[in-house]
């Protein structure tokens, strides 16, 4: 107890002593008692006010002294595993959704020690792996301590290894669980199943309607869309792990398993005789250690699993059971698995595409192994290795990952509309095609485009532009974005009379990003972004640019082009507006874009880039070019010959120096955005688009677009 409290006490004491009103002494005492009582009550009252905390989180301390549960013979009738179960019949979906409609909730039973009347234990002490599994569940976003709101139940009885449990007792223990209900929504984890002599591919417990997350399933026992296939976790895998794919691999294929079926072994030895420098066949050494393997022929010893790192492919055969630890060890060593197990359900095969990084050879065709492996190109091998590295790290590298992957599969199954797609799961982030417009269609001309004009207060020029645009046949609508905060935009009646609708949007702040807001008023997919002073484009040119955009709807298609160059002296990117043979940007002062890019600019542009453009009142067009190029990896398309976009009379010296400053600022933008995106996404091209008959000696009247290219 601290000093200050002590002195407080003495103060109280002295006060009471000094007090002439002794009858109050009891009052203080009672007060103290009451306050202590309240203080004691506080935690309990707290509990009852919040239901979710009402339940005890499972805790792992004291594993040695677990509460005992005695199983009596008269316990409920055991139901054997129901082979017909699927997600739709046996899984009670109504139990999910108590905690909102986007996430499953998983309950873990408290740890108990189960014994029968004679005191025989149902299972040995919790294993390290099962502990890790439970711990992962508890710390995951899916965990709930409240069985009433749980969607999935995980028994805390360690069933990973069938050899280590009393089958009958464990079955009884499972059915004695308070929420068991014949296994409904329960998931039983198992990695080593079956026993001598049959070694059934699924754990021989009476699991009723419970799901089994197990290793070594074959297609006959695996209940589609219900069970989950796991890998057999290997404690040795960690020591085999590699960080990248640069390892020198001297063997093409290695078989390292102990006690492979003699039939396979002899096939392998035959292969080895023919391709001695490619094939390594290992078996147990005389001493029989797991960490040491010997060549079947010359008894040369190798460290295991380190030897796996020296081979490109590693075979995986069935043993007594389908599930083999070597699979995970090979994967850890980035050795591409060659699966020689007919009818095996590969781990997590519902979401992971094993064809992406492994080879399947049917048991009867083992003799073709070398032919198959030699048929795989070098490029493909590299790619498989990269994928394997990624997949192993994400889904297999520890008990924690394996557990989370299992829960994620259940999550996707219960909430399929939030489910991850093939690409998200199987591809590396950089491989995923982000291009939002991946289906190649040319939209009909009749859909037309919307012109979005960003304006401040240049009304006169705005009106000229609107008038000119109205002559473009495919224009559907004009949207004027009025950025001046104090002045009001001119009323619609003041606008030139044009046959197309005009919408005026008054913005709330004078920001350049306003031009890229996906306004509701834009009803077409094509948007012509145009500055209010671009009045020099002919209607043929705009119409033609729209035609070009229709053929390249995922790109920026427009008129003023710029390029970026690497300045060796300053070691920076420079912005360039000179006449060059290459272009890498098309400015949005006059360009067609899909409306989707406005949505992306507004919602997903890195905030530092967006803020930079808004603060500097500059470079929003460069930012848009970066955004589009970063996602599509495609350059923009410039249309028709170069134009003079500035007013002809602005050639005084002042303007020139202002120009210089402008160029410096723009170069800074390019440099800053490169850093923000982490790379230079812009791509240069040497072409532009012209009408098919442009400049051809051909009657102008017969050309669809003839008014093109005037300065």
């Amino acid at each position: 107890m601290s000093v200050s409290t002590k002195s407080a006490f003495s103060k109280v004491y002295s006060l009471t002593k000094a007090s002439p009103y002794k009858k109050y002494r009891n009052f203080f005492f009672v007060l103290l008692l009451i306050s202590i009582f309240i203080a004691l009550l506080v935690p309990f009252t707290n509990f009852s006010s919040d239901v979710s905390k009402n339940f005890e989180r499972i805790d792992f301390r004291n594993l040695k002294n677990l509460p005992l549960v005695k199983l009596t013979n008269s316990a409920s009738v055991l139901a054997p595993k129901n082979p017909l179960c699927n997600h739709w019949d046996c899984f009670n979906i109504y139990r999910c959704g108590h905690t909102g409609h986007d996430r499953i909730s998983v309950y873990v039973y408290p740890l108990r020690k189960y014994i029968d009347e004679d005191g025989i234990q149902a299972s040995e002490q919790l294993s390290r792996e099962y502990f890790s599994l439970l711990n992962t569940v508890i710390n995951s976003k899916y965990y709930t301590a409240n069985p009433e709101e749980a969607c999935i139940f995980i028994p805390s009885i360690d069933t990973l290894n069938q050899d280590k449990i009393q089958l009958n007792l464990t079955s009884r223990a499972l059915s004695s669980l308070p929420h068991w209900r014949n296994g409904e929504n329960h998931i039983v984890f198992n990695m080593v199943s079956g026993s001598f002599p049959d070694f059934l591919p699924s754990i021989e417990l009476d699991t009723g309607n419970a799901m089994i997350a197990g290793a070594g399933f074959d297609t006959l026992t695996f209940r589609q869309n219900f069970d989950i296939s796991l890998p057999v976790f290997s404690p040795a895998a960690k020591s085999a792990e590699v960080k990248d794919i640069t390892h020198e691999r001297s063997w093409l294929v290695t078989s390292s398993q102990l006690n492979v079926d003699p039939y396979f072994l002899s096939e392998l030895q035959q292969l080895k005789r023919r391709h001695a420098e490619y094939v390594l066949v290992l078996n147990a050494c005389r001493s029989h250690e797991y960490a040491r393997r010997c060549d079947v022929d010359d008894e040369k010893t190798y460290e295991y699993p380190a030897v796996l790192r020296r081979s490109i492919f590693c075979t995986v055969f069935r043993g007594e059971r389908m599930g083999q630890v070597v699979l995970l060890e090979a994967m850890a060593a980035n050795c591409l698995p060659v699966i020689v197990m007919d009818g095996h359900v590969m781990p997590f095969s519902t979401i992971i595409d094993w064809k992406h990084f492994s080879v399947f050879v049917s048991e009867n065709h083992l003799s073709t192994l070398m032919e198959v492996l030699n048929g795989i190109s070098e490029k493909r091998i590299r790619q498989m290795q990269r994928t394997l590295l990624h997949v192993y790290k994400e889904y297999f590298s520890s008990m924690e990952k394996i557990t989370l992957t299992t829960l994620d599969i259940l999550q996707d199954r219960v909430y399929p509309h939030l489910g991850r797609t093939y690409d998200v799961i199987n591809l590396m982030p950089e491989e995923i095609n982000l291009n939002p417009l991946f289906f190649p269609i040319t939209s009909p001309k009749a859909h037309g485009f919307t012109a979005v004009i960003l304006t401040y207060d240049r009304v006169e020029s705005l009106f000229t532009l609107v008038e000119r645009l109205s002559k473009v046949p495919s224009l559907m609508k004009v949207v004027v974005v009025w950025n001046h905060q104090k002045k009001h935009p001119p009323s619609l009646s003041a606008f030139p009379k044009i046959p197309k609708p005009i919408n005026i949007i008054k913005t709330k702040a004078n920001k350049l990003s306003n031009r890229f807001y996906p306004y509701k008023e834009i009803e077409t997919e094509a948007v012509l972004h145009i500055d209010d002073d671009i009045v020099m484009l002919t209607s043929d040119e705009v119409e033609f640019a729209y035609e070009v955009w229709r053929e390249f709807p995922d790109r920026i298609v427009g008129f003023p082009s710029r390029t970026h160059i690497w300045d060796n002296s300053s070691q920076k990117w420079k912005y360039e507006s000179e006449w060059t043979n290459e272009i890498s940007m098309v400015l949005t002062g006059a360009a067609f874009l899909h409306k989707y890019w406005s949505f992306l600019y507004t919602n997903f542009l890195p905030s530092e880039v967006k803020d930079w453009a808004d603060e500097q009142m500059n470079c929003e067009d460069i930012a848009m070019n970066f955004l589009v190029a970063n996602i599509t990896n495609k350059p923009p398309i410039k249309v028709t010959p170069r134009k003079k976009f500035k007013c002809p009379e602005c050639t005084s010296n002042e303007m020139l120096s202002a120009d210089m400053g402008h160029m410096v600022a723009r170069s800074q933008c390019v440099d800053a955005f490169t850093k923000a995106f982490g790379r230079m996404p812009l791509k240069s091209v040497e072409f532009r688009a012209d009408p098919v008959l442009f400049k051809d000696p051909f009657p102008e009247k017969l050309k669809r677009f003839n008014d093109i290219g005037s300065l």
């Binding site: 006490f9 002494r25 005492f29 103290l32 202590i36 935690p43 301390r61 019949d89 979906i93 109504y94 002490q125 390290r128 792996e129 502990f131 290894n161 990695m191 297609t219 006959l220 589609q224 007594e320 007919d342 048929g375 795989i376 190109s377 493909r380 509309h417 489910g419 991850r420 093939y422 690409d423 199987n426 095609n433 417009l437 991946f438 289906f439 939209s443 009909p444 997919e525 035609e547 070009v548 709807p553 043979n581 409306k595 949505f599 010959p641 170069r642 091209v685 040497e686 072409f687 532009r688 688009a689 098919v692 008959l693 400049k695 051809d696 000696p697 009247k701 017969l702 677009f705 300065l711």
Partner: protein, 821 residues
């Protein structure tokens, strides 16, 4: 003193009580934290798995057709050579249903087909098995005995049985085909997860009787609007069954109907005796049902509900897919079509029949960008795997083929992305980088120039071929020049050819001498320019004719453009196709036009993968057409590339005339008057075999950035291109395009002046063009009728005149315009 002690005592007691009751969460700190490493592992590696099960033991145990797998119920040895399909000959006694007939025809025309059962890997019955509902008209009786009579039945080994309906009222038992299919692979619609034999059976979509054999309708969406704002969010219109299997789901749909954005209308008015079965809601439902049109709902809804009917699948699934209406599946345990390879999460939304009322919440929770993705993927899948019976059958066969041993790998990325697995042949390469579709490599090797020599004119220093080789040799990017010599004359000896830089080797392949190419009949084929010559090591191929004229600058520029569009044909000679309404055929034109849809391979870059597709993948019928006419191979290549990419080719810069004018008297296939007619015929044959017209038009050509810009020529990288194009003024005008001319004229006529008489004269240039001119006259009049807004007021006279020089447009009178084309 006593009071002090009392206080202390109370405090102490309180503290202890607190510790005992409330302070349990401090206890952990007092306990020793558990060390995971203290726990034993669940297995001990040193003792595990010291045995093996004798191989093949299981397979002996399994003799049940329920447990079939590829290893147990399929004879791989039949497929060792090639993947071929045998179709039993048609029995005269019974005619299969139209759908099955289409399916069989597709197989007969496909490259999988073999007429020899000994070569076959897969057998397909000629007995119609599509409809196994005993109450149906197409139901074939005595199936079992018919099967027994088949010479190769062998208890269904290596057979594929296509089926759309199984079981019958009232149970609709799923695997009740009413005959014993033994070890045959089922390619069956409406399968459930429980009944699909994993890795063996294939779930196919249910398709209509009118589903086209080939080609097929494109998807309805013509644009990728964003955000997708349709009139309705979710729609369903269909029958409901008042009683019996599968009726519950549809019977409760009315709960979701809100008349605003969710339209769920059902009717029980179907079948003969619906009135006897009807329930309380029927009348009300029918009234609501009649308010909406099925087609309108399909087109104007973002999501379409696909609930189960009596069976798990329904026509609605394909209909929704085609309409670009994202399917919301309400059919528990349905194994979706081709779900072995297709990731439906990318194109459809699963709902649960048990959670019907959650459906609105589910569809509303999807973000607009997710909706855009889903919708596009419906189109990718529809277009690649479902739009015709041919695609469905080929997809089925390809899935089986991938299971065979020694097949190269094709993973889900290929299946689930455009352009899809049917045109991405894994036998070409197992690495996506080698295909033109996925590559985003900045660095590409140079190109191989393939010059096809058919005429075999003698080589001299001013012959076109000599010049061409010289120009190509000067290119910065050329890696190799390959001469494909198919003339009967002998090619000039090596020292007669122009000198080339050291790094540019020149190979001559003589078709007659070279036996490693193709089979005998293809030896002198015109298609040999597209063979997959092993000498071609670069991805890019520059395909040339012997008399092509191209400058080095043009070649280099076209190559830099091709690098940006490796999946397309990029080249010079643009041509186009059009629909000739008067004759209801496709027309082909080489005239100058405002657009083009074909770039001839006489001067074009393309990816070498298309050579492989051309020789290995195209239907034998197409090859036959080319062989017979010894023509059209370039059009076929354009068909192929447009079919695969769904994009038009790309024309670069101005050059139109890409050939030397043949000197008078000498023969060239290109000045043969029949040549043109033949090409027109080809166009129509190809369109028929493909089942649709894959060619697409483009309005643009690509020029160098500074092309014809008012800037010093020295700044231009490709300055020589500027000089090309004006050299052949005469020929340009001569080939002025008829159709465009008339279109333009009519447009002008409408806007600028009112006229009551129009004369269009079609001039023919030479005797050979008589036929062309006649044809154009036909087009002109049909176009005029089609486009003239005021047919009563205007008369048109179209004449064919001979042998006059043309000079474009001329105005004779101000109110009467004459266009010469």
């Amino acid at each position: 003193m006593q009071a002090k002690r009392r206080y202390l005592l109370v405090c102490l007691v309180a503290f202890l009580t607190f510790c005992y009751f409330g302070g349990y969460h401090f206890r952990g700190s007092q306990d020793i934290l558990l060390d995971i490493e203290e726990l034993a592992s669940y297995i001990s590696l040193n003792t595990i798995d010291t045995g093996y099960l004798v191989r093949g033991r299981e397979s002996n145990l399994i003799d049940d057709k329920k447990n079939c797998g590829m290893e147990t119920c399929f004879d791989f040895s039949k497929c060792e050579k090639d993947f071929r399909v045998y179709v039993y000959p048609q029995e005269d006694s019974s005619m299969p249903s139209p759908s099955y007939l289409k399916l069989l025809n597709v197989l007969l025309e496909s490259r999988y087909y073999t007429a020899d059962p000994r070569e076959a890997c897969i057998f397909v019955l000629s007995i119609d098995t599509l409809d196994r509902d005993r109450l149906s008209n197409d139901y074939v009786r005595n199936m079992q005995s018919k099967l027994q009579r088949l010479p190769h039945w062998n208890n269904g080994l290596n057979h594929v049985i296509f089926n759309l309906y199984s079981g019958t009222w009232p149970n609709y038992t799923e695997n009740d085909l009413d005959f014993d299919y033994g070890k045959a692979i089922l390619a069956k619609a409406s399968m459930s997860e429980n009944h699909v034999r994993a890795g063996f059976d294939i779930s196919i979509p249910l398709f209509h009787k009118v589903h086209p054999a080939k080609g097929g309708e494109p998807g309805a969406p013509s644009a990728n609007n964003f955000p997708l704002e349709k009139t309705y969010l979710l729609a369903f219109k269909g029958k409901r069954y008042v009683h019996g299997i599968g009726s519950d789901t549809r019977n409760s749909l009315y709960h979701l109907h809100n008349r605003k954005d969710i339209i769920m209308v059902t009717t029980c008015r179907h079948g003969k005796s619906w009135k006897d079965m009807k329930d309380d809601r029927c009348d009300e439902d029918n009234k609501e049902y009649d308010k909406y049109d099925y087609e309108t709902l399909l087109q104007n809804s973002t999501f379409c509900l696909v609930p189960r009917g009596r069976r798990l699948g329904s026509f609605r699934f394909l209909e929704a897919l085609q309409a670009g209406c994202i399917p919301v599946l309400l059919s528990n345990s349905w194994s979706l079509p081709f779900s072995q390879v297709i990731d439906w999460n990318k194109a459809a939304v699963w709902a649960d029949e048990r959670l019907l009322l959650q459906v609105p919440h589910i569809v509303r929770s999807l973000a607009p960008n997710k909706i855009l993705q889903l919708r596009q993927q419906t189109q990718v899948l529809w277009d690649r795997y479902f739009s015709s019976i041919e695609k469905i059958v080929h997809t089925t066969l390809e899935i089986i083929r991938e299971r065979l041993p020694k097949q190269p790998i094709r993973d889900g990325t290929v299946w689930n992305n455009f352009p899809g697995a049917l045109v991405t042949l894994s036998t070409y390469s197992d690495s996506p980088e080698d295909f033109p579709f996925y590559s985003e490599k900045d660095e590409r090797m140079g190109f191989t120039a393939v010059i096809y020599c058919q005429l075999g004119n003698p080589l001299s220093s001013n012959s076109p071929l000599y010049r061409l080789v010289t120009y190509v040799g000067k290119s910065k990017y050329v890696a190799k020049i390959l001469i494909v010599w198919s003339s009967e004359k002998r090619p000039a000896s090596r020292n007669r050819w122009p000198g080339l830089p050291l790094q540019v080797p020149l190979h001559i392949i003589q078709a007659s001498a070279n036996s490693n190419i193709g089979n005998e009949q293809a030896k002198s084929s015109i298609s040999q320019r597209f063979y997959t010559h092993k000498e071609i090591e670069t991805e890019a191929i520059l395909s040339l004719d012997e008399d092509t004229i191209l400058t080095t600058d043009e070649i280099d520029f076209a190559f830099t453009v091709w690098k940006q569009f490796p999946d397309r044909i990029v080249g010079y000679p643009g041509r186009s196709h059009y629909w000739d309404d008067s004759k209801s055929t496709w027309g082909y034109t080489s005239k100058w036009t405002n657009d083009y849809s074909i770039v001839l391979t006489g001067a074009a870059f393309y990816h070498r993968y298309y050579n492989y597709l051309y020789t290995e993948w195209l239907s034998p019928l197409l090859h036959k057409t080319v062989e017979q006419s010894q023509n059209c191979e370039d059009i076929l290549m354009n068909f192929l590339v447009s079919h695969v990419t769904r994009r038009p080719p790309i024309k670069v810069t101005q050059r139109k005339q890409y050939k030397e004018q043949p000197s008078a008297g000498s023969w060239s296939p290109w000045n043969d008057p029949d040549h043109f007619i033949q090409r027109q015929t080809c166009l129509n044959t190809f369109a028929a075999v493909f089942g649709y017209m894959p060619l697409l038009r483009s309005n643009l050509r690509l020029d160098p950035v500074l092309f014809k810009d008012p800037v010093s020529n020295k700044r231009k990288k490709y300055r020589r291109i500027e000089l090309v194009g004006s050299e052949n003024l005469n020929s340009c005008i001569r080939s002025a395009e008829m159709r465009t001319g008339i279109e333009m004229f009519i447009e002008n006529a409408n806007s600028s002046f009112k006229q009551d008489k129009v004369e269009i004269r079609v001039y023919k240039e030479s005797r050979n063009e008589q036929r062309t001119a006649e044809m154009q006259k036909g087009i002109a009049s049909s176009l005029w009728k089609e486009q003239n807004p005021n047919p009563k007021a205007t008369k048109i006279s179209i004449r064919v005149s001979g042998g006059q020089k043309l000079s474009g447009i001329e105005n004779t009178k101000s109110d009467f315009k004459k266009v010469k084309i």
